[in-house]
Amino acid sequence: MASQTEKKAAPRKRSTAARKKTSKNGQAPKKTTFEVSYTTYTGGAFTHEALGLSKDQLLGMYENMLLQRRFEERAAQMYGKQKIAGFLHLYIGQEAVSTGAAYALNIGSDSVITAYRDHGIGLALGMTANEGMAELFGKIGGSSRGKGGSMHFFSKEKGLFGGHGIVGGHIPVGVGIAFAHKYKGDGGVCLTFLGDGAMGQGSFHEAANLAGLYDLPVVIIIENNQYAMGTATHRAFADPDFFKQGEPYDLHASVVDGMDVLAVYKAMQDHVAMARDNKPSLMEIQTYRYRGHSMSDPMKYRTKEELEAKKDEDPIIRLKSYLLQHNLSDNDETDAIDQKVKKEVLAAVEFAENSPLPPLETIYEDIYTQEDYPFIDQRFSTID
């Protein structure tokens, strides 16, 4: 935050201030500067001891990330088999972000909202692979009873408020979720995730200002995976240093290496703590998506080399080698986890297969809470 930022409670009279200067300063126009500070969470800079994480917690993080990875690999395969339709946006490569966040929250009392690339955070928060896969299959056993699909994972129980398809449209909603936490005094906070591309939407500006103005318990988190569809950040933004967007709203900003789950976890802990004090903040997480934007993306906008280089930073492999290097685990143990996760995902596919299609009459359910809402009568106009 700017050193010279006054507390907004005090009305400012800068026009007077400006004129005062003239006495000191006959020579004008006058160049003035102010300093802005932000925090960097660099990859590899954090040890589990320093963060007070036990071996079991690290293994839990490993399993948590791996479940997201395997779930989506399988989903991609099922998409190929046309078990899944519409858009399928894979989170593969970004799992350290969702897992690092989930471990910093009180799941159940805290809240999370994100965009359409939402399988990862859903599973990280504890949504089951079953309800997730069944939703992708469009079955009644899905988390949204088959009405939402890939872009619309919701779990009231786990505090996941979606899963949203309109870029930027959910950011003010996240601020409103935080508003309710503060209003109710329930101690909850809301993590509001958005992509780098969503920074193009005015809704960010409005939401960030409201968060800062009302001192809401929210962390606005930009998952900067370098691209919005085929557009690299520097082609869409006059200045792609998103962390600079905190200052004008009095939000403390951080830049985080999103390929290191420990760095993400630490950053989330710090920002969640700020939020619990009703200090809203901004986080830019630098991450990368290994797959295309959705299933039909030629990926001409990036080189093989760039992609391969990023794969060397794979957050899952990275945590695994950390575990081995620090003799916290061995291959047998991690293989066992791999097997467990694989089973879980296969079981989810079977569950999804066997879950029935939503009965046709459910098309009129879940719109209004009112039981007897009189939908436009198509008895005569369209013959059912």
């Binding site: 919701f154 408020f161 449209g169 409103g176 409005e206 200002n209 879940d366």
Partner: protein, 327 residues
């Protein structure tokens, strides 16, 4: 029966509900310290404090979305748009979030939120400040749309809207805020959403009109009465869902219908009502359903032009005689 201004009736509804339920709050531009751009929320900041009566920046998309998020997380927001002309920068929040998230989440979340404020023509304010939004919002399943014509309905329907667990757009009118009317002082006065009101009985022609247009309908009915014709006047009060039973019953009696609506004509609610009437009472109609609307142009500033732009009682009177095939 107390006599209240329209704005007082709306305020009374909000105050009574907020006294009843801590989870209700009012948010919008100038609603708190300024006491409301049209003084609807006068005194509410003093009574409920800054926690529950909240001024916002000029960020309709932002604070509409904030309200939606708050509703998802257990509160019952009343979001005031200074006018619904300014809801267009927030329409994505209303139609894609408030209206659809419940569905997309398989019913996990509900949206007990009211979006209220003045709607429609408001005099010499030119094209951007005279938009009627009824048809645009009513198009979207997931929303309810209410638009009362008098203080009594305003109070009873707003209380119902605030208690409703689904998103309700409550459309008022700058030009009616000062209008006085008897308002029931029944203990807990709630008028159910979705019920039309037969304001005047008659068997020669049915005139349907809501909000400001309702008063044109009464005037037209008087003019017809002088000619010896008995018009039945129906105020739908709720735009979505429409109370078709009441409307159809009337038309099966009168066999004729004129709809007054100050919206622009294309796809306005008059078209929807007419569609359903001819669809469901075809054999009862002795004449086409006619609509008396604003002209198919943007609203002009000049006094004579805006008057020419608006529907009139005179036009409704003539339309009624047309459908009765008399002159």
């Amino acid at each position: 029966m107390a006599e209240l201004q329209f704005r007082e009736a709306i305020r009374a509804a909000m105050v009574e509900e907020m006294e009843r339920d801590e989870s209700i709050f009012l948010i919008g531009e100038e609603v708190a310290e300024y006491n409301g751009a049209y003084k609807v929320s006068e005194g509410m900041l003093d009574q409920f404090g800054a926690k529950r009566v909240i001024d916002t920046p000029i960020s309709e998309n932002g604070f509409a979305g904030l309200g939606i998020g708050a509703a998802m997380n257990g509160l019952r927001p009343i979001v005031e748009f200074m006018t619904f002309n300014f809801s267009f920068v927030a329409i994505d929040q209303i139609i894609n979030n408030a209206a659809k998230i419940r569905y997309m989440s398989g019913g996990q979340f509900s949206f007990p939120i009211v979006f209220r404020g003045p709607n429609g023509a408001a005099g010499q304010l030119a094209a951007t400040h005279n938009t009627s939004t009824e048809a645009i919002y009513a198009y979207f399943p997931g929303l309810k749309v209410v638009s009362p014509s008098n203080p009594d309905d305003a109070k009873g329907l707003l209380k119902a809207a605030i208690r409703d667990d689904d998103p309700v757009l409550f459309l008022e009118s700058e030009l009616m805020y000062g209008m006085k009317g008897e308002v029931s002082d029944a203990e807990d006065y709630v008028i159910p959403i979705g019920q039309a009101r037969i304001a005047r009985e008659g068997d020669d022609v049915t005139i349907i009109a809501h909000s400001k247009s309702y008063w044109l309908a009464l005037k037209a009915a008087d003019m017809l009465a002088e000619d010896g014709y008995h018009a039945e006047v129906i105020d739908p009060r709720t735009i979505r869902p429409l109370d078709m039973d009441t409307i159809l019953t009337s038309i099966k009696k009168t066999n004729r219908c004129v709809i007054i609506d100050e919206s622009n004509p294309y796809g306005g609610i008059a078209a929807e009502m007419a569609f359903r009437i001819q669809d469901q009472a075809f054999d009862y109609l002795d004449a086409p359903v006619m609509r008396v609307t604003a002209k198919d142009v943007p609203a002009p500033y000049a006094k004579n032009l805006i008057e020419h732009y608006m529907p009139s009682a005179e036009a409704a009177y003539k339309a009624a005689k047309k459908v009765m095939y008399v002159n």
